[in-house]
Assembly symmetry: C2
Homo-oligomer: 157 residues x 2
DNA sequence: TAAATTGTTCACTTTACACCGAACTAATCA
DNA sequence: TGATTAGTTCGGTGTAAAGTGAACAATTTA
């Protein structure tokens, strides 16, 4: 006996989604837009829907939508005989976005390796720790890449 | 025939390390402190060393050190008969820090699952995409956890 | 052609953060 | 008991990002 899902439940979820994306470096309005688009049925909303439901200004929504589009997170579709744009999540690029994040692991691992190479052998314990952490990041990068590839394969078929 | 490592090489590396940490959300001074501690031989420095070599103010170094200590990235040791604190990287917690980051994957995966649960079955294609992305994040979390565990085991023995 | 719709752009305000200098505390030294 | 050392805390400044309102297209409708 599942409890009925109320409108309030859905609104709360929009905010929760927003917070997750804020933590990932998206602005508050940006997070809310993503939340709204993720909960929307059908899964797209007009500019004015977004203005109304974020309680933000038109300019803010406009700027943020441009940003989200540039990031590849949001997209829009149109319907003939209708001037409006229907904004939607461009979910297929979430993979690319994750790939970008992985490059920061690579950076980290690389800088650790360089660092060990520039240090003398006088403090082997510290050097050893650096090497171990570097190797961990190398392993992580490799495993993550493989997981992404597997996922892509599974998805395509 | 390896070229001799100069002081300038080491300074450049401090800045490089700094940039990597800045990209990860640490302040410029914070990044430099981490860089200095990572390159230091022996691998610790005093407060005044850090002030001098970051070219920052005492207050800034103090505040930043407090932050880095709170984050578990930096620690200090003392020597009897010496009033100074010797700040060092608390490298053993880099693992914990990485674990924290993983919890953001968990958050993301969880919010996606909740979202699917709150949506109707009217737009199955969109729901399917959400499920697929959620499953990817689940896989990633799992693989990353396993890699960390393996690494810890390898390290202990 | 006038009026409405659908956004965009610009100049401004607000907010948050990094960093600073100076005053302060707590411990040690002479 | 001063004077020094080691670091902290406080009030403030500079800068960048987030958001606003109002003016401005560009297209469509009446």
């Amino acid at each position: 006996m599942a409890a009925k899902i109320t409108q309030a439940d859905k609104q709360r979820q929009v905010e929760r989604i927003g917070v997750v994306f804020e933590k990932a470096g998206i602005s508050p309005v940006g997070g809310r837009i993503i939340g709204l688009l993720m909960m929307a049925e059908p899964p797209y909303l007009t500019f004015d829907d977004l203005v109304e439901r974020t309680q933000a200004s038109r300019s803010s929504v406009s700027t943020t939508l441009k940003f989200l589009q540039a990031e590849g997170l949001v997209d829009y579709i149109t319907f003939s005989g209708d001037r409006k744009r229907y904004f939607q999540l461009f979910a297929s690029t979430w993979l690319e976005i994750f790939k970008d994040r992985i490059s920061s692991l690579t950076d980290f691992q690389q800088v650790l390796e360089e660092t060990v190479a520039l240090r003398s052998s006088q403090y082997p314990e510290f050097n050893q720790t650096l090497k171990e952490v570097s190797s961990l990041y190398g392993d992580l990068e490799e495993k993550i890449k493989k997981t992404l590839e597997d996922w892509e394969k599974k998805r395509r078929k």
